[in-house]
Amino acid sequence: MSTAEIGLYRSQKLALRYFTAAVILFGVMILFGFLSSLYYLHPSMLFKVFDFNTSKMLHIDTLVIWLLMALMGSIYWFLPKEIGGEIAGIRFAEIMFWAFCVIVAIVAVVFIFVQYGHADEFSLWFINQGRKYLEAPRWASLGIVAVLLTFSYNVIGSAIKRRKMTGILWVLCLDLIPLVLVYTDAFAAQTNMSVDLYWWWWIVHMWVESTWEVLIGCIMAMMLMEIAGTSRRIVETWLYIEVMLVLGAGILGLGHHYFWIGTPEYWLSIGGFFSALEPLPLLGMVVHAIYDAGSHHLKNTNTPAFWWITAEAFGNFIGAGVWGFMMTLPQINLFSHGTQWTVSHGHFAFYGAYVCGVIAVFYLARQKYTGIEHLHGKGWWWGFGLLNFGMLGMVMALLLAGMAQAFYGRAIGGSTLMAFTDASQNAWFVAGMWARTGFGVVFALGYVALVWDLLAIRKRLPQAAAVSSPEPA
């Protein structure tokens, strides 16, 4: 056990385990993302051995799980400082971490070796629920609910035990309610596809987008106080504004997912209107990010974390704002929905909104763990540069391929199966998919550079001074 580790709370040691698991799953996600991209170039690859749908399923599900683990780890990291002591129910939280890892491992083995079963209750409970993002069988989903309940108890119980409730904690505690409740939507097995999709989008939009958006807002608030010395009054004011915007534009922005799934026509107006409003607050966030960077003269105690936070503000605006607004109006969305254009938007928005933010927390935790007072240097640029360049290249390539699909397959071909097949062989589409795979390799190299940098921080900075430690657990 290192000297720095002795100074950590048990909750923070648990956070480090969550971060380790998250980084490993991040790598697994990239691996299956790369494999999935190859199917577009060689459609018959591994036919009936390991099909595209299984690869894509592992890519998407590991995305959700690694980000969830990273977000939970971030809260476990910051919570002791926020409440001024060890969290409530830490032993239970430690047990649930290992339970979470075992659940993920078993589900991954079942997905890889069993893949799917018959259309019966047994398959729903033990093999695959067959709903995108929510393929995990019911027993595993119940396990995730148990993990989330434990997490909620840790946060709310700690606030009650310590009799401390800050503005950030209020927002966090209230956000835990939809974090648990909306996830229970994972168990539905509706036979009507429209009804099923209607509720399914609550998970994808409300749970993953809105609830997580507030969660990352709380994490960034605590992060900014830590690395830039921003006052609590300022970060809490912005957090309240963010919650207001999520409630105001984000919730009904859900409507843009309801366009073509058999819901009433009024969703076209509601979804289009609120989605069109979404870039406005994002522009305010960009102004704020530049203001913060400038007012501190780029001074901070952790340069990589600072730049990853900045990348988050920009990535969020361009990925969610620009890419989203390009395709959100119903008349355009009729052609772009479900093409690689959507995939491009999804990649960029997720990366901007969450990935950049949690990488910033990884760097902060690594700094505190290794006992470095000021983390600067240049090694982190490789990971930062390659990951951002790789992602930018991938989304541009996917945009090209998606526009080709919308143009040839949807608008000219009329969305028939033959038109889809023709569009998939179109030169623009194929070029886009090749470019996506190439930039995927760049992104994977960025991941390797990031992991190397996180591991090598202590070696590269032998002059590190000991950082002030919190009270030992």
Binding site: F273, P279, V322, M326, M403
Partner: protein, 98 residues
Amino acid sequence: MSPEAVLYSAGLCGLLTLAAFGYGAFYVGSKMLAVKLIYGAHGCYFIVAALAILIFLSTPLGIGWKILIVASAVVYAAVPPVTWRFLVKLHAPEEQHS
């Protein structure tokens, strides 16, 4: 909507938002770094306004969506200055203290 109009309309919508991003970035830059950057902000906002008009006049989008886009282009003009004033007011006590 014709195949060309799909890409044309989407491209204009994306460029409009991107120009709004440039406007916001240049606006804050002009306040923090160099006053001359305000010309960049004005230039970007001119592009926002021009694109909104172009979308209104030349795309086959419904009239309701066209009005919404023009209205949002007007609101974009206010977002950076209003946010800036709010930020300055919010940070003022800390800056006086330091």
